[in-house]
């Protein structure tokens, strides 16, 4: 779907509302109301984006860059109406921001403020008028919210209200109850949870649950990792979160709704905003030694929608891998400008590797390296032979000792298969430990090298990085 300029503006305004909610330590509500003005021709849609986060200091709006073009001229009049108040304010402030005004100093007009009558609350409403088709706007914003729901931004409830005609209201409460859980969850836990919800949906569409596709959460193997740049060295406080979900569909052949399993679309968020994946994390993904996890990249492309699409080689037909990345700053900040901060390549690489390692650690036998898989192929034979060395011995006392070492009961002696299975399980466990250890030891010098690289300004990956969130109107 084409993203028009008004929609892009709405996305950025929603994003800044989210940031205000994040800074607030309270449960917040974020409402987007689309209201059609009945008598206007062409039909005007009034868009209101309001939040109960901290009030706005207007910097985020003043930093917006307005580039006029024919399309935007026809769809938006360049005006924003802002109403905001902080918890400590006694008044509600009203502003009018005219982006058509060429002199920056004259863009902002302060309107008469309103008294709060001694009440304590905070919040912001930004409204604008657009001539966009209301259906396109609803579809675009819904899709955007649904992507945002993957993040499960803590303590923020999201609602979309559409009034197509007077008296007709359609409400969509987009945030779920579990989003408002009383127990505090970290951002990565929220992301992992939200991504599982997303993965469980039919064909990874944002809005369709499908019982035919794998619909049970316990079938998902989830790994997550967070990499942070060092404050003392970089002072950016930048974080990269990664969640990797590995799942095996019960019976791929029976699923008519099954989409292409051997590809992974990497979903990317920048500062809580669904975003096109920038070049540096893109390169970082490519540079991961996937073979350590038993994976081989066949093709690696950036799809039309700006997502990285990885096609795997030799991935079993019923297996699927999903990856999401989220880059943001530990300390919430309202951006003064909408220029994108540079994304550290090594952070993305580290976060994905941590997520893969975490997944491997949590689920036995998953993502074993190609090397470990080969060694595992000997486990059964080794187990059978060792089992026979015990069971075919003519020394009963020895057999008893061996069973005891294996943690088995003497009566299980008769069940050769049990002894064999027990040994095989232990051998595979050892191979998995070796696999993790060998990767850690391989990663150790790598990590030192990366740590140096993090702060190296001349890294060619940092060159030519372009902003991703400029309000390019």
């Amino acid at each position: 779907m084409e993203i028009t300029c008004s929609q892009r503006l709405c996305q950025i305004l929603i994003c800044s509302a989210v940031q205000r909610c994040r800074i607030s330590d309270q449960l917040c509500r974020l409402s987007v109301v689309l209201k059609r003005c009945p008598d206007s021709d062409p039909p005007v849609i009034r868009v209101s984006i309001s939040d109960t986060g901290i009030g706005s200091c207007l910097q985020e709006f003043q930093g917006l860059i307005y580039r006029r073009n024919h399309a935007s001229a026809e769809k938006w009049d360049g005006m924003l109406f802002i109403t905001t108040t902080s918890i400590s304010d006694n008044e509600i402030f009203h502003y009018h921001l005219n982006f058509k005004e060429s002199a920056a100093a004259r863009r902002l007009t302060r309107l008469p403020s309103t008294t709060k009558n001694g009440l304590k609350f905070s919040g912001t409403e930004v409204s604008l008028s657009t001539w966009e088709c209301i259906d396109d706007l609803v579809e675009g914003i819904t899709c955007f919210f649904q992507k945002m729901l993957i993040l499960k931004v803590p303590k923020v409830a999201v609602e979309l209200v559409v009034e197509r005609m007077t008296g007709s209201r359609e409400n969509f409460l987009l945030a779920k109850d579990d989003n408002l859980l009383p127990c505090p969850m970290s951002n990565i836990e929220c992301l992992a949870l939200g991504f599982q919800d997303y993965v469980l949906k039919h064909g990874n569409m944002f809005d369709k649950q499908c019982p035919a596709c794998l619909s049970r959460r316990e079938h998902l193997k989830v790994g997550s990792g967070v990499a942070c740049s060092s404050d003392s060295l970089a002072s950016t406080g930048q974080l990269m979160e990664a969640v990797v979900i590995f799942r095996e569909l019960p019976d791929a052949s029976s699923l008519s709704c099954l989409r292409e399993c051997s590809t992974t679309k990497v979903i990317y968020f920048q500062d809580f905003l669904p975003s096109v994946i920038p070049q540096s994390p893109l390169n970082a993904l490519r540079s991961i030694d996937w073979e350590n996890y038993g994976l081989t990249i066949k093709t690696y492309v950036v799809g039309e929608s700006g997502h990285a699409v990885i096609e795997w080689e030799n991935l079993p037909p019923s297996t699927h891998i999903d990856i999401v990345l989220h880059c943001y700053h530990k300390k919430v900040k309202i951006p003064r400008t909408w220029q994108k901060t540079q994304v550290d390549r090594n952070l993305a690489k580290k976060a994905v590797k941590l997520a893969l390692d975490n997944l491997k650690e949590r689920y036995k036998g998953t993502l074993l390296s190609a090397h470990a898989v080969k060694i595992c192929s000997y486990a059964l034979d080794l187990a059978r032979t060792i089992s026979n060395l015990i069971l075919l011995s003519n020394d009963k006392e020895f057999q008893g000792e061996c069973l005891s070492l294996l943690g088995l009961q003497p009566q299980q002696m008769g069940e050769g298969k049990e002894v064999e299975d027990c040994i095989q399980e232990k051998i595979i466990a050892v191979i998995e430990i070796n696999d993790r250890k060998s990767r850690k030891s391989r990663n150790a010098p790598d990590f030192l090298f990366e740590a140096e690289n993090i702060h190296e300004p001349e890294d060619e990956e940092f060159q030519g990085e372009e902003g991703v969130s400029i309000l390019d109107l």
């Binding site: 060694i375 034979d381 026979n388 011995s393 232990k426 191979i431 070796n434 060998s438």
Partner: protein
């Protein structure tokens, strides 16, 4: 790989009371003599299995420490200790590498077969073992290596495992002995070939009136001597391993020498392979370096054929073949072996001379002028005239 390995489980090494800890070669020889009976070997196999399980129980890879053995090196300084029979370094076999996992798989499969052989007091050949899992073993050499590893692991010789080779050696001459109660009376017909006994440990009652033992490299030469009734007129014992000698032939030869204290001569082709076979009799083979002290025959004297024999005995030019590139490569490699420099410098000089001349010839070439030349002239004259080194 330049050497053979001796396998000792890590856990064994950690235990100070372990029976497998070695201090020196002499001690090991006496120790081996006392711990190679089937009962002791079965105990060791069980201890080995326990160690495997203990490793697994602790979440450790069943790691095996391999002590490497070799009978020679290529250190030109002569300061090596290859002659000490001590191990030279270690190798770790665990589940870290795929090739090691396979090696462990094979080793355990063969060990299981051996455990059964020992428990049931039966014997099996290396080939029998190979055919137990031919698809897994893929070739005989894989089984052979596993057997060697197990000998190293259990500190014993191959025959102690009840694994026997199909004997290929032949013997004739002034000799009488019993093998497992069965009488072998070669003296009745000294020029008749008998197979070398496979169960050498069961040989007893050796009686001989021979004055020396002659080893010949090839069956063809052995047969020539038999046809010429060499042993009828020469009081000797003739043995052939038919090429590279197998373990029973070398063990039987050792037994004869230890019992009869006779001088022993060796007749091989004048080419790098003949020379290599000669060194195998005297110094042992690298593949079974761990057991070389029980198989080698240091007393051997090289009777021929020497490179100089071609001129001395007027060999026709047509019998002299140029050394191939492969021959030269093999000879060059053999020249570097430390034991030649240290213990057989004259042999080494002859090998150098062979390379300088660039030609080789077979023993049979000496019979070019007369079919019985070997039996009637060459061998007797060399032995009587001291024409050996």
């Amino acid at each position: 790989m330049d050497g053979i390995v001796r396998v000792v489980f890590q856990n064994f090494e950690l235990k100070s009371t372990s029976p497998i800890i070695r201090t020196n070669a002499g001690e090991e020889m006496s120790r081996r003599g006392s711990s190679s009976n089937p009962c002791d070997l079965l105990k060791k196999i069980k201890e080995f299995t326990r160690c495997l399980l203990e490793d697994l129980r602790r979440g450790r890879s069943p790691s095996v420490t391999l002590n490497r053995y070799r009978i020679y090196c290529t250190d030109p300084s002569g300061k090596c200790c290859c002659s000490s029979d001590l191990h030279m370094g270690k190798e770790i076999v665990s589940l870290q590498k795929e090739c090691h996992a396979y090696r462990l798989d094979v080793l355990l499969r063969v060990l299981l077969i051996i455990q059964q052989l020992l428990q049931e007091n039966r014997h099996g050949s290396k080939r029998d073992i190979y055919y137990m899992h031919p698809a897994v073993f893929s070739e005989q050499a894989v089984v052979d290596r596993a057997i060697n590893d197990i000998c190293i692991l259990l500190e014993c010789s191959r025959h102690n495992l009840n694994v026997v080779a199909v004997g290929k050696g032949l013997v004739m001459g002034w000799l009488k002995f019993f093998e497992a109660g069965k009488k072998f009376d070669c003296i009745n017909s000294p020029s008749k070939a008998h197979p070398v006994p496979v169960f050498v440990e069961e040989v007893e009652g050796i009686v001989s009136v021979a004055q020396y033992i002659l080893i010949v490299e090839k069956e063809a030469v052995f047969q020539r001597l038999a046809d010429d009734r060499f042993c009828d007129t020469n009081n000797c014992i003739v043995i052939t391993g038919r090429g590279y000698p197998d373990v029973p032939t070398r063990r039987f030869l050792r037994l004869l020498i230890e019992n009869l204290c006779l001088p022993v001569y060796c007749l091989v082709d004048c080419d790098p392979y003949g020379f290599d076979i000669l060194t195998t009799y005297r110094f042992g083979s690298m593949q079974m370096a761990y057991d070389a002290k029980f198989l080698r025959v240091p007393e051997i004297r090289w009777l021929g054929a020497f490179p100089s024999d071609s001129k001395k005995y007027g060999l026709p030019e047509r019998c002299l073949l140029p050394l191939t590139a492969g021959d030269m490569k093999k000879a060059e490699a053999m020249l570097l072996r430390c034991y030649l420099q240290r213990e057989a410098p004259k042999w080494r000089s002859e090998l150098e001379m062979m390379m300088q001349r660039g030609v080789k010839f077979e023993i049979e070439a000496l019979s070019a002028s007369s079919i019985s030349f070997l039996a009637e002239k060459y061998i007797p004259s060399k032995i009587q005239g001291g024409g050996y080194i």
